[in-house]
Amino acid sequence: MLKLKNREALNNFRNNILSKHQEKDKKLISLCAGSGCGAYGTEKVYQTLTEELAKHNLQDEVEIKLTGCHGFCEKGPIMVIHPEGIFYPQVKETHIPNIVEKTIKNGEIDKSLAFKDHITKKKIFHEEDIPFYKLQQRIIFGNNGMIDPTSIKDYISVDGYTALDKVLFEMTPDEIIDEIRKSGLRGRGGGGFPTAVKWDSCRKHEGERYVICNADEGDPGAYMDRSLLEGNPHSILEGMLIAARAIGSNQGYIYVRHEYPLAVKNIETAINQAREIGLLGKNILHSDFDFDIHISRGGGAFVCGESTALMASLEGNPGRPRAKYVHTVEKGFRQSPSLLNNVETWTNVPVIINKGADWYSRIGTEKSKGTKIFSLVGKVVNTGLVEVPMGTSLRTIIFDIGGGIPKKKEFKAVQTGGPSGGCIPKEFLDLGVDFDELAKVGSIMGSGGMIVMDQDTCMVDVARYFLDFLKEESCGQCNPCREGIKQMLAILTDICKGNGKEGDIELLEEIGGMLQKFSLCGLGTSAPNPVLSTIRYFREEYEAHIRDKKCPAGVCKPLFHYEIDPKACKGCQACAKKCPEKAITGEKKKTHILDRQKCIKCGICYDICKFNAIIIR
């Protein structure tokens, strides 16, 4: 590719790509190659599709585009056939001959392969009509399903790098920061810190300034950053370029998890392409602006998502946080002024510059502007990534977009904010989700993980689970966090085993309060949140474990057993056939018997019974 000499060259380049697009009025098959769909086998589908098209001699008439994540990962691999927007979920190799024959050649929809709505039971044929997508507002995530993330041309064709062009030639650094301030953008990495304030204070400190992207995404259950890195890497680069221009920086770093190989690869490709074409490097588009970006791969430590730990890790040291008497905007990476923002925050930046702060700030709530991508996972029908305006209610997200709870079970709680967050019970389903509302009910936005829990989730076990996670992840340098988490975990483990004592709940609250006050970094201060929020809303469940030695949800093995409800059992033998211990016996159409001595509480019978005849006692 030729280096773009100036802004006119970029413009001509874009127009050239666009005119070529229009010329070829081709059919386009967009196939999701994100990690989620990949796990369900996109690669095999792609191979079969290529072969099948060749068999019909259609390879020149139909273009296949391997895109990033479309968000509806539950239904992967996802295929969308343009221009009609025909949507096929869960595509398998065996479906390909039919799709090519019917849809590609004859323009018919194969109804047997179409998407079936979980609630209305109706088939839906077009992407735009599916409730999961319809209720979203995808200003950040929308291009993921449209562009090939390994092609800079694709990004440029969707107005990519126009915001960079604008800030370089039409705006002063003050104006850039003002625009971000007016937009109301707050950081998407967890704390919701006003982005412009951070930029402005970094700019005021002298030295070699660094622009850094936090792509460490450690919150288990959240994967929007991964999808953006994989699906639209140039939008992150463009955001960083704009900030670099605004604060006067020439060097950027992306700190990304080694466990995200596809993200690393795509972002590497994007950087190389941007360098080749002259959008990274010296005198970008013939301006006086120099900027380049390097990648650093993290090593799977949750605490490295914390800003000071991340910078220690960038320097090649163990990622241990330091006290923040001096902020990283003053002394961060290499003791220099460093500006750290999260992946999703970066991708908001070009959108704000392109569409304007006025447009942007009309989306969202009074103090939380724009949209937020949530990863809607756990016990919900439509799992995936959901982008909605700030302030959208939990009910809309979980029930209208997410399709509610599978298997007719009951909603119990939603966990937001990961290990630093809390569990929100059903009383607050109508809460409009933004930074401040979540904090009011004892949780946090975090990076946007939303883990839905149903009646079969034990809240004490969930609290124990998060502490177990944090015990492994605490860097161990300060006492309150290292010892406090260990002690809280020991108490919770005892409770789950049936050895809970009166006073345990109060003790948990006390130690939790100590951690909140005296830990050095955010990991320790927020570690008690999952415990404290579950005590706040589900105290009776703790009490059942401690006093009655019962786990009402049937999770903590020593505290429950299965029984067969003779009224509900139809004698279908489904459970008897599947029980690995042969603990269930009974003749067809007669009430079965469960031998508690043999039962290992694996739960296979409970999951399999269609009549809810296996009950937890």
Partner: protein, 160 residues
């Protein structure tokens, strides 16, 4: 412990040169070397000391801090079973148990034939497809007991 590894010193040099012997890139250099041998052979540590100009203690402190680095030999296939929150509420523990039973090893161990190492990790970013595991760089989603065993068998066949 199993067989001695034979180290391709030229390859190691290429990796270090790729990062211009930059000591800030220590972790990435170790990860790249691990990608070849599935662990960081202790024999390379003196070379790192020499080429990057850092102390041995620095290398050990980084190598032991980050989970992607192992100083013990690991199997040909490294199974990372996700026990992240989303996978946890969907029964990741049952998959972990299945793997432990069928491979006859505990979490963190390697099978005697050096074929599999089983590690529990927290979220591989495919949360909507959970429960999930990765085997080396391949991801497998929507796991249940049956398909987990099938997948393991496929790797066994591949290796034989």
């Amino acid at each position: 412990m199993g067989k001695e590894v034979i180290i391709d010193w030229q390859h190691v040099d290429t990796i270090i040169d790729k990062y211009n012997s930059n000591r800030e890139a220590l972790l990435m250099i170790m990860q790249d070397i691990s990608d070849i041998y599935n662990y960081l052979p202790p024999e390379v540590i003196p070379v790192l000391v020499d080429k990057l100009g850092i102390r041995k203690s620095q290398i050990y402190s980084v190598a032991t801090f980050y989970k992607t680095i192992s100083l013990e030999p690991r199997g040909k296939y490294i199974i990372n079973i996700c026990t992240g929150t989303a996978c946890h509420v969907r029964g990741a523990n049952k998959i972990l148990e299945t793997l432990q039973e069928s491979l006859e090893i505990e979490e963190g161990e390697t099978t005697k034939d050096q074929l599999f190492t089983l590690e529990a990790v927290r979220c591989v970013g495919c949360c909507a497809s959970g429960p999930v595991m990765t085997v080396n760089k391949e991801t497998h989603g929507g796991l249940d007991r049956t398909n987990t065993l099938e997948i393991i068998n496929e790797y066994k066949e591949q290796a034989s």
